[in-house]
């Protein structure tokens, strides 16, 4: 169970998150929608430990992750919108930064790296990769600690349809293993993938049931 309670964050006089509360059961995919600047990225960055909230509580299975950064680094994987890979290195070299030799081999044979199809481009330098390959590699790097929660900031922006399908398949597998995903997105395909969606507006989350009516969704944002 993931709990976010009364998270508040302000930048100067501008209040971005106001007593934001959310509870998510394990094995769910949650979509966070909202206009640009509504605070989606701020919420994810607080959960990823990039910045501190002014106040609030964030836990997984009752463990306070705002006070235990080491545990948070293990349990939470963060996939930023831009790729965080070292451009000059190959996929394998990037993976070596996060996996020891034995684990890398094991994951390539039958683990997360196999699921993401990373072995197909192991020796390709990042700057020669497509957007989809980079995103799969980023997810692969983020998943090295076998986290329980994956935070994704617009994960399939600028990713071709085939790679999107691979990535969505992986999300399903991760969910099937009891993992939870929180996705900040603008993509209809991703919204359809979610078990529940929330609109972040005026610093608070409002649950939204998407039924394919895009004009209605736009109106709510």
């Amino acid at each position: 169970m993931i709990q976010i309670k009364s998270i508040t964050k302000s930048y100067g006089k501008k209040s971005v998150l106001k007593n934001l509360t959310l509870e998510v059961e394990a094995g769910k995919i949650i979509g966070i929608l909202g206009e640009n600047g509504s605070g989606k990225s701020t919420l994810l960055s607080i959960m990823a430990g990039l910045q501190h909230p002014d106040s609030g509580y964030f836990s997984i299975d009752g463990k306070d992750l705002l006070k235990n950064s080491k545990l948070r680094n293990e349990l939470v994987a963060y996939v930023p919108q831009e790729n965080p890979l070292i451009q000059e290195l190959t996929a394998l070299d990037n993976l070596r930064m996060w996996y020891d030799k034995a684990t890398l081999k094991k994951e390539l044979d039958k683990g997360v790296l196999r699921m993401l199809g990373v072995s197909q481009f192991l020796n390709t330098p990042v700057h020669h990769m497509s957007g989809g390959m980079k995103k799969r590699l980023t997810i692969a790097c983020a998943m090295n600690s076998h986290p329980k929660l994956m935070l994704l900031d617009e994960p399939t922006a600028a990713v071709d349809l085939v790679c999107r399908e691979d990535i969505y398949n992986y999300f399903e597998q991760f969910r099937g293993q009891g993992g939870t995903l929180i996705i900040s997105t603008h993509e209809v395909q991703e919204i359809e993938l979610c078990d529940a969606c929330y609109i972040l507006k005026d610093g608070a989350l409002q649950e939204y049931r998407y039924d394919g009516d895009i004009p209605h969704l736009i109106g709510r944002l």
Partner: protein
């Protein structure tokens, strides 16, 4: 790129002190003179100056039959200056009383080292060639007017001349001469060798500019999410950057050591200090650390490739100039010299120079360490801001 720059500077440093023409040029300025040919005493003075006096290390004298020839040679750059010794000057008893002046011509626009050198040369030439002879000639004329026979006059003049020459030639042993060197107690070759090396090491961070290109905030954020905070990120990257600069230093030292061992080039003698190239390694450690931290901060904090290059280059050139890398800082106003000592580049020069001549290291070391800490701290602050969305 780092290899190219290191080769360039290494070769430059080698050339500065290895080149024979430099060794030759650094001690000899060509001075022309006109009008001494028909006077035996003046010729003796010129001979002494050319062959016996310690000034011979600095001056090469060249005689011209007339002033036009000397003028042409001066314009062609064959001589640095020329002195005209007029007949009126030599022949008149009252020349001294009348304040008859020596004509001295030199190329204009050269102040600083060359100007100072030429003033010294003119003073030496004036004293030895002219005033000595003037005194002797005055004695000759005074004795003649008082009715002394020529034989007596020659005897007196010879005694006087010999006494004077003896005094002139032995003047070095009659006074204590303490050579402070051109700047920071270093000989000219050692000074420029040091500043050339320091200029190389302040510029080397440019070679690692690719290190800072294509940087994304996402990398810093991803690393932070993985538990690597801004301080650890900056220290790790700075260490890699430092290794890059150390690699450049090693390359230069190896180049110089090869010239010392294989080509039998004697650095200690030519730099006039007990210094060998391998000593650059410990001597440059702190300066390179400070330059690394400064280069890292500038290249990391400034956004955009053009801005990175432009701003860093301008700051480096300013620091190098004020510190006296291109021109000895002793010629700068006192305020600028004080500023120089407070800059990383100036403190680095003092630190390295003092190691070579055995001066105090504490103050410049403190300045260098303080800058290293300051730039590291600022880099961490920049990284921290970058991690926050």
């Amino acid at each position: 790129m780092i290899l190219l720059l290191a080769v360039l500077f290494g070769t430059g440093a080698y050339a500065v002190i290895r080149d024979g023409s430099y060794v030759e040029n650094q001690k000899r300025y060509t001075l022309g003179y006109v009008g001494a040919a028909d006077n035996s005493l003046l010729r003796s003075g010129v001979f002494l100056l050319e062959n016996e006096d310690s000034a011979k290390e600095m001056i090469e004298l060249k005689e011209y039959e007339n002033e036009d020839d000397a003028k042409t040679a001066l314009r062609a750059g064959e001589i640095s200056a020329y002195v005209v010794i007029t007949k009126e000057f030599m022949g008149q008893l009252d020349a001294l009383a009348n304040g008859e002046k020596l004509k001295y011509y030199a190329t204009s626009g050269q102040k600083g080292i060359t100007g100072v050198m030429m003033d010294e040369i003119a003073a030496v030439a004036g004293n030895i060639i002219v005033y000595t002879e003037k005194g002797i000639l005055s004695l000759d004329q005074a004795m003649e007017e008082r009715g002394y026979e020529e034989q007596d006059r020659i005897l007196q003049m010879t005694d006087c001349f010999n006494s004077y020459v003896d005094a002139i030639l032995n003047r070095d042993s009659k006074v204590e001469i303490v050579s402070l060197g051109m700047s920071d107690g270093l000989s000219t070759p050692a000074y420029y060798f040091t500043t050339l090396m320091l200029f190389l090491f302040i510029m080397i961070p440019f070679c690692g500019i690719w290190f800072f290109l294509g940087q994304r905030d996402a990398i810093a954020q991803f690393l932070k999410a993985k538990g690597l905070g801004p301080a650890r990120q900056v220290l790790a990257e700075m260490f890699a950057f430092y290794l890059l600069n150390i690699f450049g230093q090693l390359f230069v030292v190896i180049l110089l050591e090869i010239s010392r061992v294989v080509l039998k080039y004697d650095f200690a003698t030519l730099l006039k200090i007990g210094f060998q190239p391998y000593m650059l390694l410990p001597a440059m450690t702190l300066p390179i650390l400070a330059f690394t931290a400064m280069g890292f901060f500038l290249l990391d904090a400034i956004q955009g490739v053009v801005n990175k290059v432009l701003v860093t280059f301008i700051i480096d050139i300013f620091m190098a100039y004020v510190a006296g890398f291109f021109y000895p800082r002793v010629f700068f106003p006192m305020e600028v010299q004080m500023l120089s000592n407070l800059l990383p580049s100036g403190a680095a020069l003092t630190y390295v120079a003092n190691q070579m001549v055995g001066g105090r290291l504490l103050e410049p070391a403190i300045v260098l360490i303080a800058y290293t800490i300051l730039f590291t701290f600022l880099s961490i602050m920049v990284r921290k801001a970058r991690i926050k969305l």
